[in-house]
């Protein structure tokens, strides 16, 4: 076995996986990765199950050191500068840390959460099938709290498998899509329109429980108290002050504020990766469209292994190349910045 030492880490970094399901009826929040696609991509790169436990790294930097042997890892999610002793490491690739080497990750450049998956996955004692940290309930393994410098993981020795990169589709841009309800009838048409037509910003006080949205105050039709009912990831509740809160993975399992809309499954990770201060909009879609997108999202995660490529082959993205030609850009096929064609330096 090797060890991976958390040499330094910022706040809001913790072990997360696909979440803890089946006990929401007892008030146990599901937790789990804020961006499930990024978690799955990182895990796929090192041959793990898509929702295996990995390190969710918050917006600040972090460093990880291999001890007692080599450790193979992969990073995906919010982009950041990464290097091993000055050698750059690309996002969406696997890399092997030799014994004694340190992987340094900078601040998130856009987005919030980056996932560090470890070959063989993080090991621990699951509770309700999950190692995910839920600090309030004292759950999570191997540490039932956010990570601190000095924490370490006992991990499989690196297999020596060839390094891989994963070609992810360009993330959707545009508004965060929602399905109205379950309590949209607690708001009149003008206030529903205000919610859908306004620009919103994520407040800096947001966390894994909820993203507070800054924008116009949304008024209720009959006041802000409803009898508590169940919540889901992406429920957008409107408390008394009219500032909506999008409930995230560490939400309470029930809540007593009217919920105007629910973020569609395919866009919850996109919302999670919207950094504080960034302006965005919502857009209402039909249930049929939302479910169609949810199925495509599931399909994308299922087929991530088909998107793995050898990390040391230069492949031109012909589609992107021709798109760019049509658009009239001057193209340099070796410009990785323009092309996302990852020829590693």
């Amino acid at each position: 076995m090797s060890r991976l030492i958390v040499a330094s880490v910022g706040p809001a970094s913790s072990v997360q996986d696909g979440g803890r399901h089946g006990a929401q009826r007892y008030g146990l929040t599901p937790s789990g990765a804020m961006d499930r696609l990024a978690l799955a991509a990182a895990n796929t790169l090192v041959g793990n199950e898509p929702f295996a436990a990995a390190v969710e790294i918050g917006p600040f930097g972090a460093t990880f050191a291999a001890k007692d042997g080599a450790v193979r890892v992969a990073i995906a999610g919010a982009p950041r500068n990464a290097d091993i002793a000055g050698r750059p490491v690309a996002m969406d690739t696997s890399i092997t840390l030799k014994d004694g080497e340190t992987l340094t990750l900078g601040f998130a450049r856009g987005g919030a959460f980056t996932y560090l998956a470890i070959e063989g996955a993080i090991k621990g004692e699951p509770v309700f099938g999950s190692l995910a940290v839920n600090a309030r309930a004292g759950l999570g393994s191997p540490y039932p709290r956010p990570l601190q410098a000095g924490d370490e993981f006992t991990v499989d020795a690196a297999s020596g498998a060839p390094e891989l990169r994963i070609e992810l589709p360009k993330p959707a841009s545009g508004p965060i899509r929602v399905v109205l309800g379950p309590q949209d009838d607690e708001f009149d048409d003008a206030n529903k329109a205000l919610f859908l037509d306004s620009e919103w910003k994520i407040s800096a006080t947001s966390d894994r429980m909820g993203y507070r949205l800054e924008g116009p105050a949304i008024k209720h039709l009959h006041g802000h108290n409803i009898v508590s009912d169940g919540t889901v990831n992406g429920s957008i509740q409107v408390p008394g002050n009219g500032s909506p809160i999008a409930l995230m993975m560490d939400r309470g399992t029930s809540g007593g504020y009217p919920k105007i809309a629910t973020v569609i499954t395919a866009d919850v990770g996109r919302l999670a990766q919207t950094s504080a201060g960034t302006t965005f909009r919502f857009k209402a879609v039909t249930m049929a469209e939302a479910q169609d997108e949810a199925r495509k999202y599931q399909q994308l995660i299922r087929t991530l292994p088909d998107r793995l490529r050898s990390s040391d082959t230069v492949e031109l993205n012909i589609e992107a190349l021709s798109d760019a030609n049509v658009a009239g850009y001057a193209v340099s096929a070796m410009d990785a910045g323009t092309w996302q064609v990852t020829a590693e330096p």
Binding site: G22, R25, V127, A137, L180, S235, V263
Partner: protein, 243 residues
């Protein structure tokens, strides 16, 4: 009576969950229908559903839209929800010990003052109630109880406390509660119980279920300390009443 309730409504809760709403208010008849639907689905799950969360007035059903769509699931749920609920089976009954007042129930005196009576009288009214676990939510094991004596209905504190201790027994609005973990709360704290409604590595991890009946009885603070140690070691302190 259940017969007077309007038909249940389906409320979309995103693309992977649906709320079956029986009432907009706290209503024992609606809660019974919620629990009956929950029980029916546990006995005969609909393909594609994954998890249900009963609350006072509605059942939230999580499902996989890759396996069943909103329309098909909604139709099946409404069909079951509209059936006459089976006569409720015998509920489990728990007797829960409570150390009232003092450091364990810092609001007992204020509640008595607000209601123009004595702390002992408040305890007598709280102990005299027959409660039902209407739902569990917010934090693990937090059991919301219906059945609070009407004379104890009072609005919540103006400013919620950021910390209330594990095991807090409190009242808020028309509800009573058993809190398991330390948490923020705007309710009035009458006492503490050594009973853990949630304890990891204990069988069962969760003691109470929606639909269970609950009564309280007073213990002194010394007994609390003894039982608290026993509970910490994994003992189930609550007494189950065998009818």
């Amino acid at each position: 009576m259940a017969a007077t309730l309007p038909p249940p409504r389906l409320l979309p809760s995103g693309d992977s969950a649906v709320t079956v709403e029986f009432s907009r208010t706290i209503d024992d008849a609606a809660n019974e229908r919620v629990l009956a639907l929950d029980k029916a689905l546990a006995a005969t799950p609909i393909g594609g559903m994954s998890e249900t969360i009963p609350t006072y007035r509605s059942l939230l059903v999580h499902y996989d839209p890759g396996k069943i769509g909103f329309d098909a699931l909604g139709e099946k749920l409404l069909a079951i929800a509209c059936q006459k609920p089976p006569p409720s089976t015998k509920a489990r009954r728990w007797r829960i010990p409570v150390a009232y007042g003092g450091e364990h129930g810092i609001d007992l005196e204020d509640v008595a003052k607000a209601l123009n009576t004595t702390p002992d009288d408040i305890v007598a009214r709280h102990v005299g109630g027959n409660y039902r676990v209407a739902m569990i939510g917010f934090t693990p094991g937090w059991s919301y109880l219906s059945g609070l004596d009407k004379s104890l209905h009072m609005s919540r504190r103006q400013s919620p406390r950021l910390f209330t201790p594990a095991g807090t027994i409190s009242i808020g609005g028309i509800q009573a509660g058993i809190q398991c973990l330390a948490a923020p709360s705007g309710w009035h704290l009458l006492g503490r119980t050594p009973v853990r409604t949630y304890q990891l590595h204990r069988n069962p991890t969760f003691l109470t279920e929606p639909g269970d009946r609950v009564t309280f009885f007073a213990i002194d603070h010394k007994t609390f300390d003894e039982q608290d140690r026993a509970a910490e070691a994994g003992e189930i302190i609550a007494e189950q009443v065998i009818a």
